[in-house]
Each structure stands twice: as structure tokens, then as C-alpha cells.
């Protein structure tokens, strides 16, 4: 990946034509020139932010901010802390709408962020993952605008279908709070997959479903207990007690350095299943939901067997 990330770091490469990749900047003036370009890119970024001269899509996604501010601090976490290994990236199409469906765990949605980073940095087409989030995300001050700017939108059929129709890569974690907020002893046991809304969205838009299995996130913040009363007072779905939180205070916010594997499974094509009519068939929707869930569950078990240990 060194080549692409180098281009990304120079960063003002604005592709004027979608079909042409941005030209790499000729860097033949020694190390100083590289530094100069970085300064230039940084200044240009600052100027854009100060004058509001950057595009934001209809959902509030701000690619300029996402690529330069939101994602860079996550890269060390991805590369050195979790040593994320990706498999089956070629199962994710280079263009067009597709729905990535993954298991959810770890009390803090790091798994979603790592999946997004995997697809942006390591997929040959550098795709942005448009994540679907619970309404709680959009009611929390501070979190709400960041989620929208990072490309998330509310997990509802209207939004999912619109994104898929626009040819976006959409990520969904159908277990929701039941998955991410489950106790550590239930690790890697998939919870109920919502009400199958994601399947009907895929059916209506004919987008393939890509099952995605994430191993490692469960051990980042092992949830030993749940301060339910306090959580209810704060209006949160759960309040985790982990080995380090609240015992070590702010240090409890440091995730344990588990070894991660993210595997993208073979796409389940939905284009030939009958479109909108199929989405109205609850039995088909339930069966497809179960199929996706079973696929992810069995992949999780396989990956767990293959992982040498939790932390190495």
C-alpha cells in the first residue's frame, strides 16, 4: 500500500475527471520537495476549511475532513495496535452499490471504523464505507456531526436504499446494541440480526450482500459488567465495566491490543431474486437474513481457530 498512501498524503490531488486516477506528483527534487508538498497540501487544507470551500454530500459526508482529520489518527491503531489482517477484499466490488454486513462487538464501535479504514486503504478502488448508525449516534452532541461528516447516516431503509442506488458501498451492523453491548462471556455468538431491514434494502436495490466477519474487536474492551442503572440515567443502552474501566479512569479508554482479522466473504447476489416484490416476501427476507447470519457465524469460528492467540 505504500504507493497509494503516498498519493493520499500529498493530498491535494483533486481528480477532475472521475474516470482518470489522479496523476502522482513528480517528486524528483529530493526530500525537501516532499516536505514542501506536504506543507503546501496542509496550507491548502487549512485555507479550504477556513473559507468553507469543500464539498459535502446530501448525507453530510465530508470526504475532505474524513481523509485528512478523522481517519489518520486511526491508522496507527489499525497498523500497529490491532495489526489488522484483511482477507477477501476482492469480494468487494470496485464500483456500484454493495452492502457489507458485519458482526458487531467490543462496546465501542471500533470494528466499524477499522472496516471503513480497511476498505479505504487496502481495497484497490479505495472505497469509502458509508456506515449505517443507530439513532442514538445522531442525538449525541459531538458524536452526531462527526458521524455524518465521516459518512454515516441513520440506519433506516430510506437512507440505505438511497445510498445503494447512488452506487455507494454501505456498511451495516444488524446486531446493533445487542451485539456491541453484549457481555464478554457471549463473545463471537451472533445476536439476532435486527428485523432483516438490510436484506430488504439490498433486494429493492439489487445490491449484493457481502458478509463480513470481524475477529478481534470482542477483546478490545471486554465487557465484564453493565452498570444498567447509571446507563438508564444517562440515556445510554449500556454502560460497560471492563477490566480497565472505570478502574483506571481515562486509561480505560485504551483498547486492549488484540489481533484482528477482517474477512469479506463471497457476495450474495440479490439482483435476480425479484427486486421490490421479493422485498415484500417476509419468508424470503428471513431466510436470506439467516443465511447471511450463518455465513458470518461459521466464518467467525473458522477465523478463531486460525488465530494463533488473542493478542499475537
Amino acid at each position: 500500500m505504500p504507493e497509494r498512501s503516498a498519493v493520499r498524503r500529498l493530498d491535494n490531488v483533486i481528480p477532475l475527471r472521475e474516470d482518470q486516477p489522479p496523476l502522482p506528483v513528480a517528486d524528483d527534487r529530493g526530500p525537501e520537495a516532499g516536505w514542501d508538498h506536504r506543507v503546501a497540501a496542509g496550507l491548502a487544507f487549512l485555507r479550504r476549511r477556513i473559507t468553507g470551500d469543500y464539498p459535502v454530500d446530501d448525507f453530510g459526508f465530508d470526504p475532505d475532513l474524513t481523509e485528512h482529520v478523522l481517519l489518520p489518527p486511526l491508522r496507527p491503531l489499525y497498523d500497529t495496535w490491532f495489526r489488522v489482517e484483511t482477507r477477501g477484499l476482492d469480494n468487494v466490488p470496485d464500483t456500484g452499490g454493495a452492502l457489507v454486513v458485519a458482526n458487531h462487538s467490543g462496546t465501542v464501535p471500533l470494528d466499524a471504523l477499522m472496516t471503513a479504514l480497511a476498505l479505504l486503504d487496502h481495497h484497490p478502488a479505495s472505497r469509502h464505507l458509508r456506515m449505517l448508525g443507530a439513532d442514538l449516534v445522531f442525538s449525541l452532541p459531538g458524536v452526531a456531526p462527526l458521524a455524518r461528516k465521516g459518512g454515516s447516516t441513520l440506519a433506516c431503509n430510506a437512507d440505505a436504499e438511497r445510498l445503494l442506488d447512488d452506487g455507494e458501498l454501505v456498511g451495516v451492523w444488524p446486531e446493533g446494541f445487542k451485539g456491541i453491548g453484549k457481555p464478554f462471556r457471549e463473545r463471537y455468538k451472533l445476536q439476532r440480526f435486527g428485523r432483516g431491514g438490510f436484506v430488504s434494502a439490498a433486494l429493492r436495490t439489487g445490491a449484493p450482500i457481502i458478509p463480513c466477519s470481524i475477529v478481534g474487536a470482542e477483546e478490545t474492551f471486554p465487557m465484564l459488567g453493565n452498570a444498567k442503572t447509571l446507563a438508564r440515567l444517562l440515556g445510554l443502552p449500556y454502560l460497560p465495566i471492563t477490566p480497565t474501566f472505570p478502574l483506571l479512569g481515562p486509561l480505560g479508554a485504551v483498547p486492549l491490543p488484540s489481533k484482528w482479522i477482517i474477512e469479506f466473504g463471497e457476495p450474495i447476489e440479490t439482483a435476480d431474486l425479484g427486486g421490490a416484490a421479493a422485498a415484500e416476501d417476509p419468508m424470503l427476507v428471513f431466510n436470506l437474513t439467516d443465511q447471511v447470519r450463518e455465513t458470518i457465524q461459521s466464518t467467525l469460528y473458522t477465523l478463531l481457530m486460525q488465530r494463533r492467540s488473542t493478542f499475537f
Binding site: 496523476l23 513528480a26 506543507v39 503546501a40 485555507r47 446530501d58 439513532d135 442525538s139 456531526p145 441513520l154
Partner: protein, 360 residues
């Protein structure tokens, strides 16, 4: 959805002493195919509005008064454009009077329309505020979607009630073509709305931790939609606004206005202070809007009218051009960038843009 009812002959415009009303009456009066344009309002148009109105006949009448029925009957009005649903209590004499004008006025006007055999078409200006504003909102509201949280107060609640009465009228007079236009926030160099006043504050208070998406409709495009609706518009309910969005923070940066983020518990205190000072009127609905924003889908308008308002960013650029000079001028920012770059790279002359990409 579309039901051509023929060209309008006699058009009655309510709220003609307000900005949109007077402009629309003037535009319709300039159309020679329309026989008469009658403007109604409870106050006379201001002196500077009169040249705009052209041959519009002004009738000073309160739509809350049954007199309006006589005007409609005696002039054989066939098209009514109802613009007199007002967004702010100032100028109306308080919230109670505003609600009276909006709701009772609409009821009275619709009652008069129902009795008039000459009626063929009714155009009503409503607002996308009827969709409410909440964290559970989808990214776009289409016309069929119900609000996730019903507006509980102010203009938005009035608009919900007005729409209810308009739908009732539609059921009782199915022969009248009904066009309900849900406008997003108006913007432009001349129009005066709570949003334009808010954006014109020297320091703009925002809700800490929130950055709503704004969707805007240029005033000229709003007038064009109204004109088209009167002249040959399809009937039905339409969201009206530009495509695309601006984030509030982004809009303020483009304006060059500093934002003052206020924690949401303190917001109502600040809002009250502003209301007390008479600068900007903030209703609790508008405060929710400043947290969660609202975007409407405008596909139906584009398909039915074969025309779209200009995009949000373009409409906003027109407002920026007419607003007072920004704190940070984009050109000065670009010049500063160049100077700093020159300094930092000791004049080696680097362009942040790779050759051949931007230059081409």
C-alpha cells in the same frame, strides 16, 4: 397528479404586502394572459413595494374576516394563491395573533373558496418544517413520509394545521386543482426571514456539538415555482428547494462569520436574550432545527415541473455576495496561503496541485 385546469383568468394573492406576496403579484400582473390580479392583505403595501405590484388591484381585507368571501365571489376569482402563512410573530403582534392569522385565516379563506363556484385552482405555500426535526429523521424527506416527531409549537405546528385544512378542502372540492408547496428555508439577497437574520448576526450562536445540514431555496426560484404553479403547474404536494446541502458550520465559514457554540442547556437562555433584544426570533422548533437540520427530497418537483431550483450552494453564494464583507475574505485567505507557502518553502515555488491536473 397533473390536472391541467387551463390558464388562470383572475388570480387572488393573499399576504401581498409581504415580500414574496408583492413580488409574485407583480410577476403575475406582468403576464398579459392573466386578466386581473387581486392582492389581499390586512396592511397596505409599503411605499417602496408599490412599483413592484404593477397593475395588481389591492384590497385591504383581513382573511380572518368573512369579507374575503365577497371579494372572491364578486371578482369571479378562479385561482387563489395563499401566501399568508407567516413564520414569525414580529409584525403580526405576537404569537397569538400569528396563530390566528395562520390557522383561522386559512380556515376562513378556504371556507370562502369552497363557496365560490368560479374556483379552479388553489396554490398554498407551506414549509418543510412540517416534517419536524429529530435525530431519527431519514437523510431526506419525501412528500409521503410522516414526520418522526410532530412539530409541537410555532410556525411548524401552524403549517401542519394549515395543511390539514387544505387537505380537507381538497376532499370537499375535488374539482379544484390543489398545489401544496413545501418550501425549504428561503435565502437570497433581498428576502428577510428568521434564517437570513440569524445568519446576519455579527457572531452566530450555534448549538455546541451539533452541525445541521441546511437546504436552501433561492427567493427567485421560490417565486418561479409559485408562478409556474399558478400559470400551468401540476397539482399535488411538492417539496421545493435546491439540491445538495451545506453544513451550518460550512455556511458560516463561507459567510466569514464566527460561530459561537452554546451548550444546548443554555441555548434557550441565549435564545430568549436574542428574542428580548428583538434581533432574531428563535422558537424551540428552530432550536431543534439548529441541532438536527432537515433535508427534503426534491425529485418529484423536478419531474413534475421539468425544472429545478438552483442548488443550495449556489443559492447561498448569492446571499454571501450580498451580505456584509466576511471576516476572512477567500481571496485574502488564498493570498495568505501563497505567502506562507513561499515563506515555509523558502521560495522553492511548489504548487500543491500536480501539474497537468488543474492546469489542463
Amino acid at each position: 397528479m397533473s390536472s391541467p385546469v387551463g390558464r388562470p383568468r383572475v388570480v387572488l394573492v393573499t399576504g401581498v404586502s409581504r415580500y414574496l406576496g408583492s413580488r409574485l403579484a407583480g410577476i403575475l400582473a406582468a403576464d398579459p394572459s392573466i386578466e386581473r390580479v387581486i392582492g389581499v392583505d390586512s396592511v397596505a403595501p409599503r411605499r417602496e413595494q408599490r412599483p413592484v405590484l404593477g397593475r395588481t388591484e389591492f384590497v385591504r381585507a383581513d382573511i380572518r374576516n368573512p369579507l374575503i368571501a365577497k371579494v372572491i365571489a364578486s371578482a369571479d376569482v378562479d385561482t387563489v394563491v395563499h401566501l399568508n402563512v407567516i413564520a414569525t410573530p414580529d409584525g403580526a403582534g405576537g404569537r397569538t395573533a400569528m396563530k390566528e392569522i395562520n390557522v383561522i385565516g386559512t380556515m376562513q379563506l378556504l371556507a370562502a373558496c369552497q363557496k365560490a363556484p368560479s374556483m379552479r385552482s388553489l396554490v398554498v405555500k407551506s414549509t418543510t418544517a412540517v416534517y419536524g426535526s429529530s435525530p431519527r429523521d431519514p437523510a431526506h424527506f419525501t412528500e409521503e413520509l410522516a414526520p418522526r416527531s410532530l412539530p409541537r409549537a410555532g410556525y411548524a405546528k401552524d403549517a401542519v394545521e394549515v395543511e390539514g385544512y387544505v387537505r380537507g378542502f381538497g376532499r370537499r372540492r375535488p374539482d379544484v386543482a390543489l398545489t401544496l408547496l413545501r418550501f425549504t428555508n428561503f435565502i437570497g439577497p433581498a428576502i428577510d426571514t428568521p434564517l437570513t437574520r440569524y445568519l446576519s448576526l455579527p457572531v452566530v450562536p450555534t448549538v455546541l456539538g451539533f452541525d445541521p445540514r441546511l437546504q436552501l431555496c433561492h427567493e427567485e426560484d421560490g417565486l418561479e415555482v409559485l408562478r409556474r404553479s399558478v400559470v400551468d403547474g401540476p397539482s399535488g404536494t411538492f417539496n421545493v428547494g435546491g439540491t445538495g446541502v451545506l453544513l451550518l458550520s460550512q455556511a458560516l465559514r463561507r459567510l466569514g462569520r464566527p460561530a459561537l457554540p452554546v451548550p444546548s442547556p443554555a441555548v434557550s437562555v441565549v435564545a430568549r436574550a436574542f428574542r428580548g433584544a428583538g434581533v432574531v426570533d428563535f422558537s424551540p422548533e428552530q432550536m431543534r432545527f439548529l441541532e438536527h437540520g432537515r433535508v427534503a427530497d426534491v425529485t418529484r418537483l423536478r419531474e413534475a415541473f421539468g425544472w429545478s431550483p438552483r442548488p443550495t450552494a449556489e443559492a447561498f453564494a448569492d446571499f454571501v455576495g450580498a451580505a456584509r464583507p466576511p471576516l476572512v475574505d477567500p481571496r485574502r485567505a488564498a493570498a495568505a496561503e501563497q505567502r506562507l507557502l513561499h515563506l515555509l518553502t523558502r521560495g522553492r515555488g511548489v504548487s500543491p496541485y500536480p501539474q497537468g491536473v488543474l492546469g489542463a
